[in-house]
Symmetry: C2
Subunit: 268 residues, 2 copies
């Protein structure tokens, strides 16, 4: 198996490729998948892993290569939304046959692919997660799902989709918004103030398309900063509030988040 | 003239009412408009100026009072989005005859009213702006527009609408999104990272409805925090980028922002 790694958002650190390759070797020995890190992963252009044209070209090059079986997004940050819409019309049949996995800002590309019915799409850990505490376990989980679809790596609810709440909020009402009717929608976020989480929940659940989901599961909302005034509500209270207002069933928790325990959520 | 002041988002400080009332007296003497601050403006419930039911009830009570000519939103923050949709069906003919003015988070209510064709709606300074440096000038500008529609208080482009970019982003794809076809859309923001400004610009300009605007004018984007990596692009470059991508004409700057110079932008 050959896994192509590109960075549609921000660059990765130097040691990520070696670390992830070592995890694959430890898991699978001589049968380890080939991990092909596109050199674009290390480019730096301001905030981004190369400028828009460079990131787009690396993504399309790897996606359209029939010798590569899966696209693994290297990390999140910000930038995927600047190239996702442009990438779609450039993808060929090889891209449509691929598995695509990532989360956080990479969710923009996953949304766009899923909206257009391109490939097999999944929320899950990325190579850069190896730098987290216990990040090796996150990388192993993604590899074991990519290589053998190991059942213990995935959230069992289906059909499903998973998003970073803030990322999903910025896709609402655009051509990149996928039809999630009947899906279990799992949401997580990191480093957002309570008021921003509440605002984004209100936004997402007010969209008529999102109101067609089967229900919402609450992933982890981590590293919430302290505000100058206490918000006065926990995240679950907000999720339950907006589910009630929108008529969307609240289905409990989901084992996803910006952490090493983040599970795979295959879309669909 | 009687102006009713309510706070759909966060509470105001104790001295705002006296300060604003003194400005009105200095401007108009015995002819000064009556400024009726609803006591709800000073309630505190976590982040909010009273809980949702209390803020909604204060808003509807003042809006539906035929003895009040205009609703002046007291300040922004966060919270208007929790009550705007519920308020709409409760508004009577007196509410429809009113002028409504505010900005920032109050833009959610302005958007909702404008989407439903309720009242005369304008972006402009709020009572809490009196606490800004030179904030008296901002308050005077709003009063002079409310009382006499003084032409020097308003941005001359019409038809127009003005929003805080982040607030508009959170209305996109919801029933509160107004039809802005043919409008000059003015956008401003405060205290958002470059990457968030870029992300919200991409979001807003990707919406098919927004792509019908006559063009975008760039207000002030102030107090942009330093990020852990430099973004590598100024705001005008981003606005021009997304205008080019979306086919929306870039029309230059607009004299609006989170500051004392913030001009009135009557919607329509």
């Amino acid at each position: 198996m050959r896994i192509g790694i590109v960075a549609p958002s921000c660059p990765i650190d130097d040691d990520v490729a070696d670390g992830v390759t070592a995890r694959a070797a430890a898991l699978y020995g001589a049968d380890a998948p080939a991990l092909i890190f596109h050199p674009q992963c290390w480019l730096v252009d301001g905030h981004f892993a190369g400028n828009d044209a460079t990131r787009l070209s690396a993504l399309v090059e790897m996606a359209n290569d029939p010798a590569i079986d899966a696209i693994w997004f290297a990390r999140g940050g910000y930038g995927a939304g600047r190239i996702a819409a442009d990438a779609l019309p450039l993808l060929n049949d090889a891209a449509r046959a691929k598995t695509w996995i990532g989360y956080s800002d990479a969710g923009v590309v996953l949304a766009a692919l899923y909206a257009k019915g391109i490939g097999t799409v999944a929320h899950g850990p990325m190579p850069a997660d190896i730098r987290r505490e216990d990040g090796g376990a996150a990388v192993d989980r993604a590899l074991r799902w990519l290589v053998e679809r190991a059942p213990d790596t995935a959230e069992p609810h289906a059909p499903a989709a998973a998003f970073n709440l803030t990322i999903l909020s910025h896709i609402i009402g655009t051509p990149l918004q996928p039809d999630l009717a009947g899906h279990v929608l799992m949401l997580e976020d990191v480093a957002e103030y309570h008021y921003r989480i509440d605002r984004a929940l209100g936004h997402v659940t007010s969209n008529p398309g999102i109101r067609q989901v089967a229900g919402i599961r609450m992933g982890r909302f981590s590293d919430i900063p302290e505000n100058d005034r206490p918000f006065g509500m926990e995240v679950e209270t907000m999720v339950r509030h907006w589910c009630r207002v929108s008529g969307i069933p609240f289905l409990g928790t989901a084992d996803i988040g910006h952490d090493a325990a983040n599970m795979i959520v295959p879309f669909g």
